[in-house]
């Protein structure tokens, strides 16, 4: 027992001391957060102002489109030839034809594909203007129209939870996020186990070591040591993320207030006001919804389950990866064994994705029970909280997972102790199967 502690210590310390660990652990979340913020920021940035030429032969929209700081509208009444458009300073050209009020179709020509934002601005301006034109033609009072126009807000309720709006789908998506992270980490660390085993084998230190410790101790020491590295990394990440999120939310809340004030100032006409009211009305529940989802998420339960399924899933897969690492001579030889070992987890990701739209399907049920996929799939059900209604399923899934990793570690141990002493031999599945029955 003392020896296994020594091995765990070495595995943990040599990894934690590596510069790459520090970089991954501290810079990782910053990099991810930074990249995401950067992407959002870049997406919001418009490189240039767009000059839109509206060819408005029927004089339907002339003078009615409002410029924004990125999009400015100009009007013409004759079609521009392609070459003339190309030579012009305009970046976009819209053709409004006679039949526009019937066909609801326009053509937008561009030199460089405009961003979605710009497309949306042009589209919404045109829609708004055409709508008003139609109201005029049909002699409908804009105020009446504002009252009639209906945007349906569907609220979901689970009949078993009286009076509570259901957020199952959102929660399922959050669960999928956890499942995906699970998939990522189980592999990240399991592959590290494989690399470590291979390193010991190709360094030829392994025979020196197993003259002092049992192969199984060596394998388990490595697996546990790396698991601790993973847990240490999680802990730091969670702490960092919590800090960043608190700081970030504070900043965001400050930011969020501004655009609404600006919008409020811009309220001009009656129908616009109505529209804005609607928008604001739609926006407010959105933000509340985020809070609502967060509050619905049983965070200690989800995190607890995440750690359990991570550890158990990791033990299951890392032992298999250790067996693969022991059986081959170099990393290039691992491919043929990696695929079958990786496959169940990839399947699990697909099932988890399906669970977002259809959490009640039998596939999701079985996926969350079968040990090879349960770490990923069960996270969806855990995040939804629905699994708590059938605790036996959770217990069964957990028990099966534990039982399976005990079995796979035993299996891997038997392959491992023979594999690490085999050099220069191309190993087949059959060969590995035979190793199971060698006397230790």
């Amino acid at each position: 027992m003392n020896k296994i502690l020594l091995i765990i210590r070495r595995e943990f310390i040599t990894r934690v001391r590596k510069p790459s660990f520090l970089i991954m652990t501290i810079l990782g979340p910053l990099l991810i957060a930074g990249t995401m913020v950067g992407l959002v920021y870049l997406g919001m940035q418009e490189s240039d102002e767009h000059l839109v030429l509206v060819v408005d032969e029927p004089h339907v929209v002339t003078g009615k489109l409002r410029d924004t700081d990125k999009v400015r509208f100009f009007y013409a009444y004759d079609d521009l030839s392609d070459s003339a458009f190309k030579a012009s300073p305009y970046t976009l050209m819209v053709n409004v034809n006679e039949a526009i009020l019937e066909t609801n179709t326009i053509q937008l020509f561009y030199k460089d594909l405009p961003s979605l934002n710009v497309q949306r601005t042009v589209q919404s301006e045109l829609e708004r203007t055409l709508e008003r034109e139609k109201l005029r033609v049909n002699q409908v009072d804009p105020d009446t129209y504002a009252r009639i126009k209906t945007a349906l807000n569907v609220q979901l309720f689970d009949i078993d939870k009286a009076g509570e709006e259901s957020y199952e789908q959102v929660l399922a998506a959050v669960g999928f996020g956890f499942g995906y992270i699970m998939f990522f980490f189980v592999f990240l660390y399991a592959v590290q186990v494989m690399r470590g085993v291979l390193e010991e084998k190709s360094n030829r230190i392994v025979e020196v070591l197993i003259s002092s410790v049992k192969p199984f101790q060596l394998m388990m020491g490595k697996i546990i040591g790396i698991a601790l590295v993973g847990l240490a990394q999680f802990t730091i990440w969670i702490a960092l993320t919590a800090t960043l999120m608190t700081a970030g939310t504070a900043l965001l809340m400050k930011d969020r207030l501004d655009p609404r004030e600006v919008l409020a100032e811009q309220q001009m006409t009656g129908e616009l006001q109505a529209e804005l009211m609607k928008e604001a009305g739609a926006q407010a529940p959105d933000r509340n919804k985020v809070m609502e989802v967060v509050s619905r998420l049983n965070i200690p339960f989800v995190l607890g389950m995440f750690v359990f399924y991570f550890l158990a899933g990791y033990l299951l897969y890392s032992s298999l990866f250790a067996a693969v690492g022991s059986a081959v001579d170099s990393e290039t030889d691992t491919q043929q064994f990696m695929f079958p070992v990786t496959l169940p987890m990839i399947v699990a990701i697909f099932i988890a994705q399906m669970a977002i739209t259809n959490p009640g399907s039998p596939l999701v049920f079985w996926g969350s029970i079968i040990p090879f996929t349960s770490p990923v799939v069960m996270m969806v059900r855990v995040a939804m909280g629905s699994v708590l209604e059938t605790p036996w399923q959770l217990v069964l899934s957990m028990a099966l997972l534990v039982g399976t990793f005990v079995f796979t570690t035993w299996l891997a141990g038997r392959i491992y102790r023979t594999g690490i002493l085999m050099y220069g031999k191309k190993v087949s599945w059959r060969e590995m199967g035979r190793w199971l029955f060698y006397k230790g």
């Binding site: 003259s211 002092s212 049992k214 006397k439």
Partner: protein, 311 residues
Amino acid sequence: MLTCEHIVKRYGAHTALDDVSLTVPAGGIFGLLGPNGAGKTSLIRIITRITAPDSGQVLLEGRPMTAADVALIGYLPEERGLYKKMKVGEQALYLAQLKGLPKAEARKRLKAWFERWEMTAWWNKKVEELSKGMAQKVQFVSTVLHAPKLLILDEPFSGFDPINAELVRQEILRLRSEGTTVMLSTHNMGSVEELCDHIALIDRSRKVLDGRVRDIRRQFATRTYRIEHTGNKVAFANALSFTGELLEHTEGEEYNTARVRLAHDSTVNVVLRQLLPAVEVHGVQEEIPRMHDVFIHAVNAHGAVPADMTE
């Protein structure tokens, strides 16, 4: 010290060790010889408890070996290496602790060894910065640091330059004089003759030969003598008559040398009695085969056995 009794080890259809029994006496150097793939490493792995035999048992000082006994063994495998990225001192400490030495004690002993072998400057270096020979020295120190009662060395001299090989050789002899039993597996027959007191020869999974080196060489002696004399070949051959067979006769500047194999019923005294009146004898020496010849002879003879049986 160590006794292997009827060890059998199979890997699938392949039998690596077939009923191998041998005894390693305490306090000497025991040579484990055999061609590549004969089963030496399989046997060593069983003795070091890396693998278990399918049948048979290993006795250490008369009692069956237990898992705790690995601490009494120091093993330097043929396929050996160190963690490349780890520092020398740290790594040596780690290996010593795995052998059960407390950290402080391990550090103290390592310091002493490193000073003796002038390796102190390497302590904080990474193994990848060392030359192969240097790494081998670290490895050797790690193997003997816990003062094992039984030291098993598989090709200990490979990877060393002659100076360091001599250093290791001296160290092996010193350890023996301190009472360590050494088991040496090597293809270098010169070092077997020089170092080993006892040997066992394994070929194709079976033990072919074992015993004291002196006895074995004598056992393989072919009753051939080199006789230096000042006489001519014809006179020598005539005098020899039927007491022996003249294998070779070379004329030298000072003496001529004859290689004589004794006849079946003859002794060296009989031969000399015949020769003395005819030629002047200056020296007589029995040809005792080198271990190299014993090895080749024994392996070839063993290989011939199945062929004989088919007749």
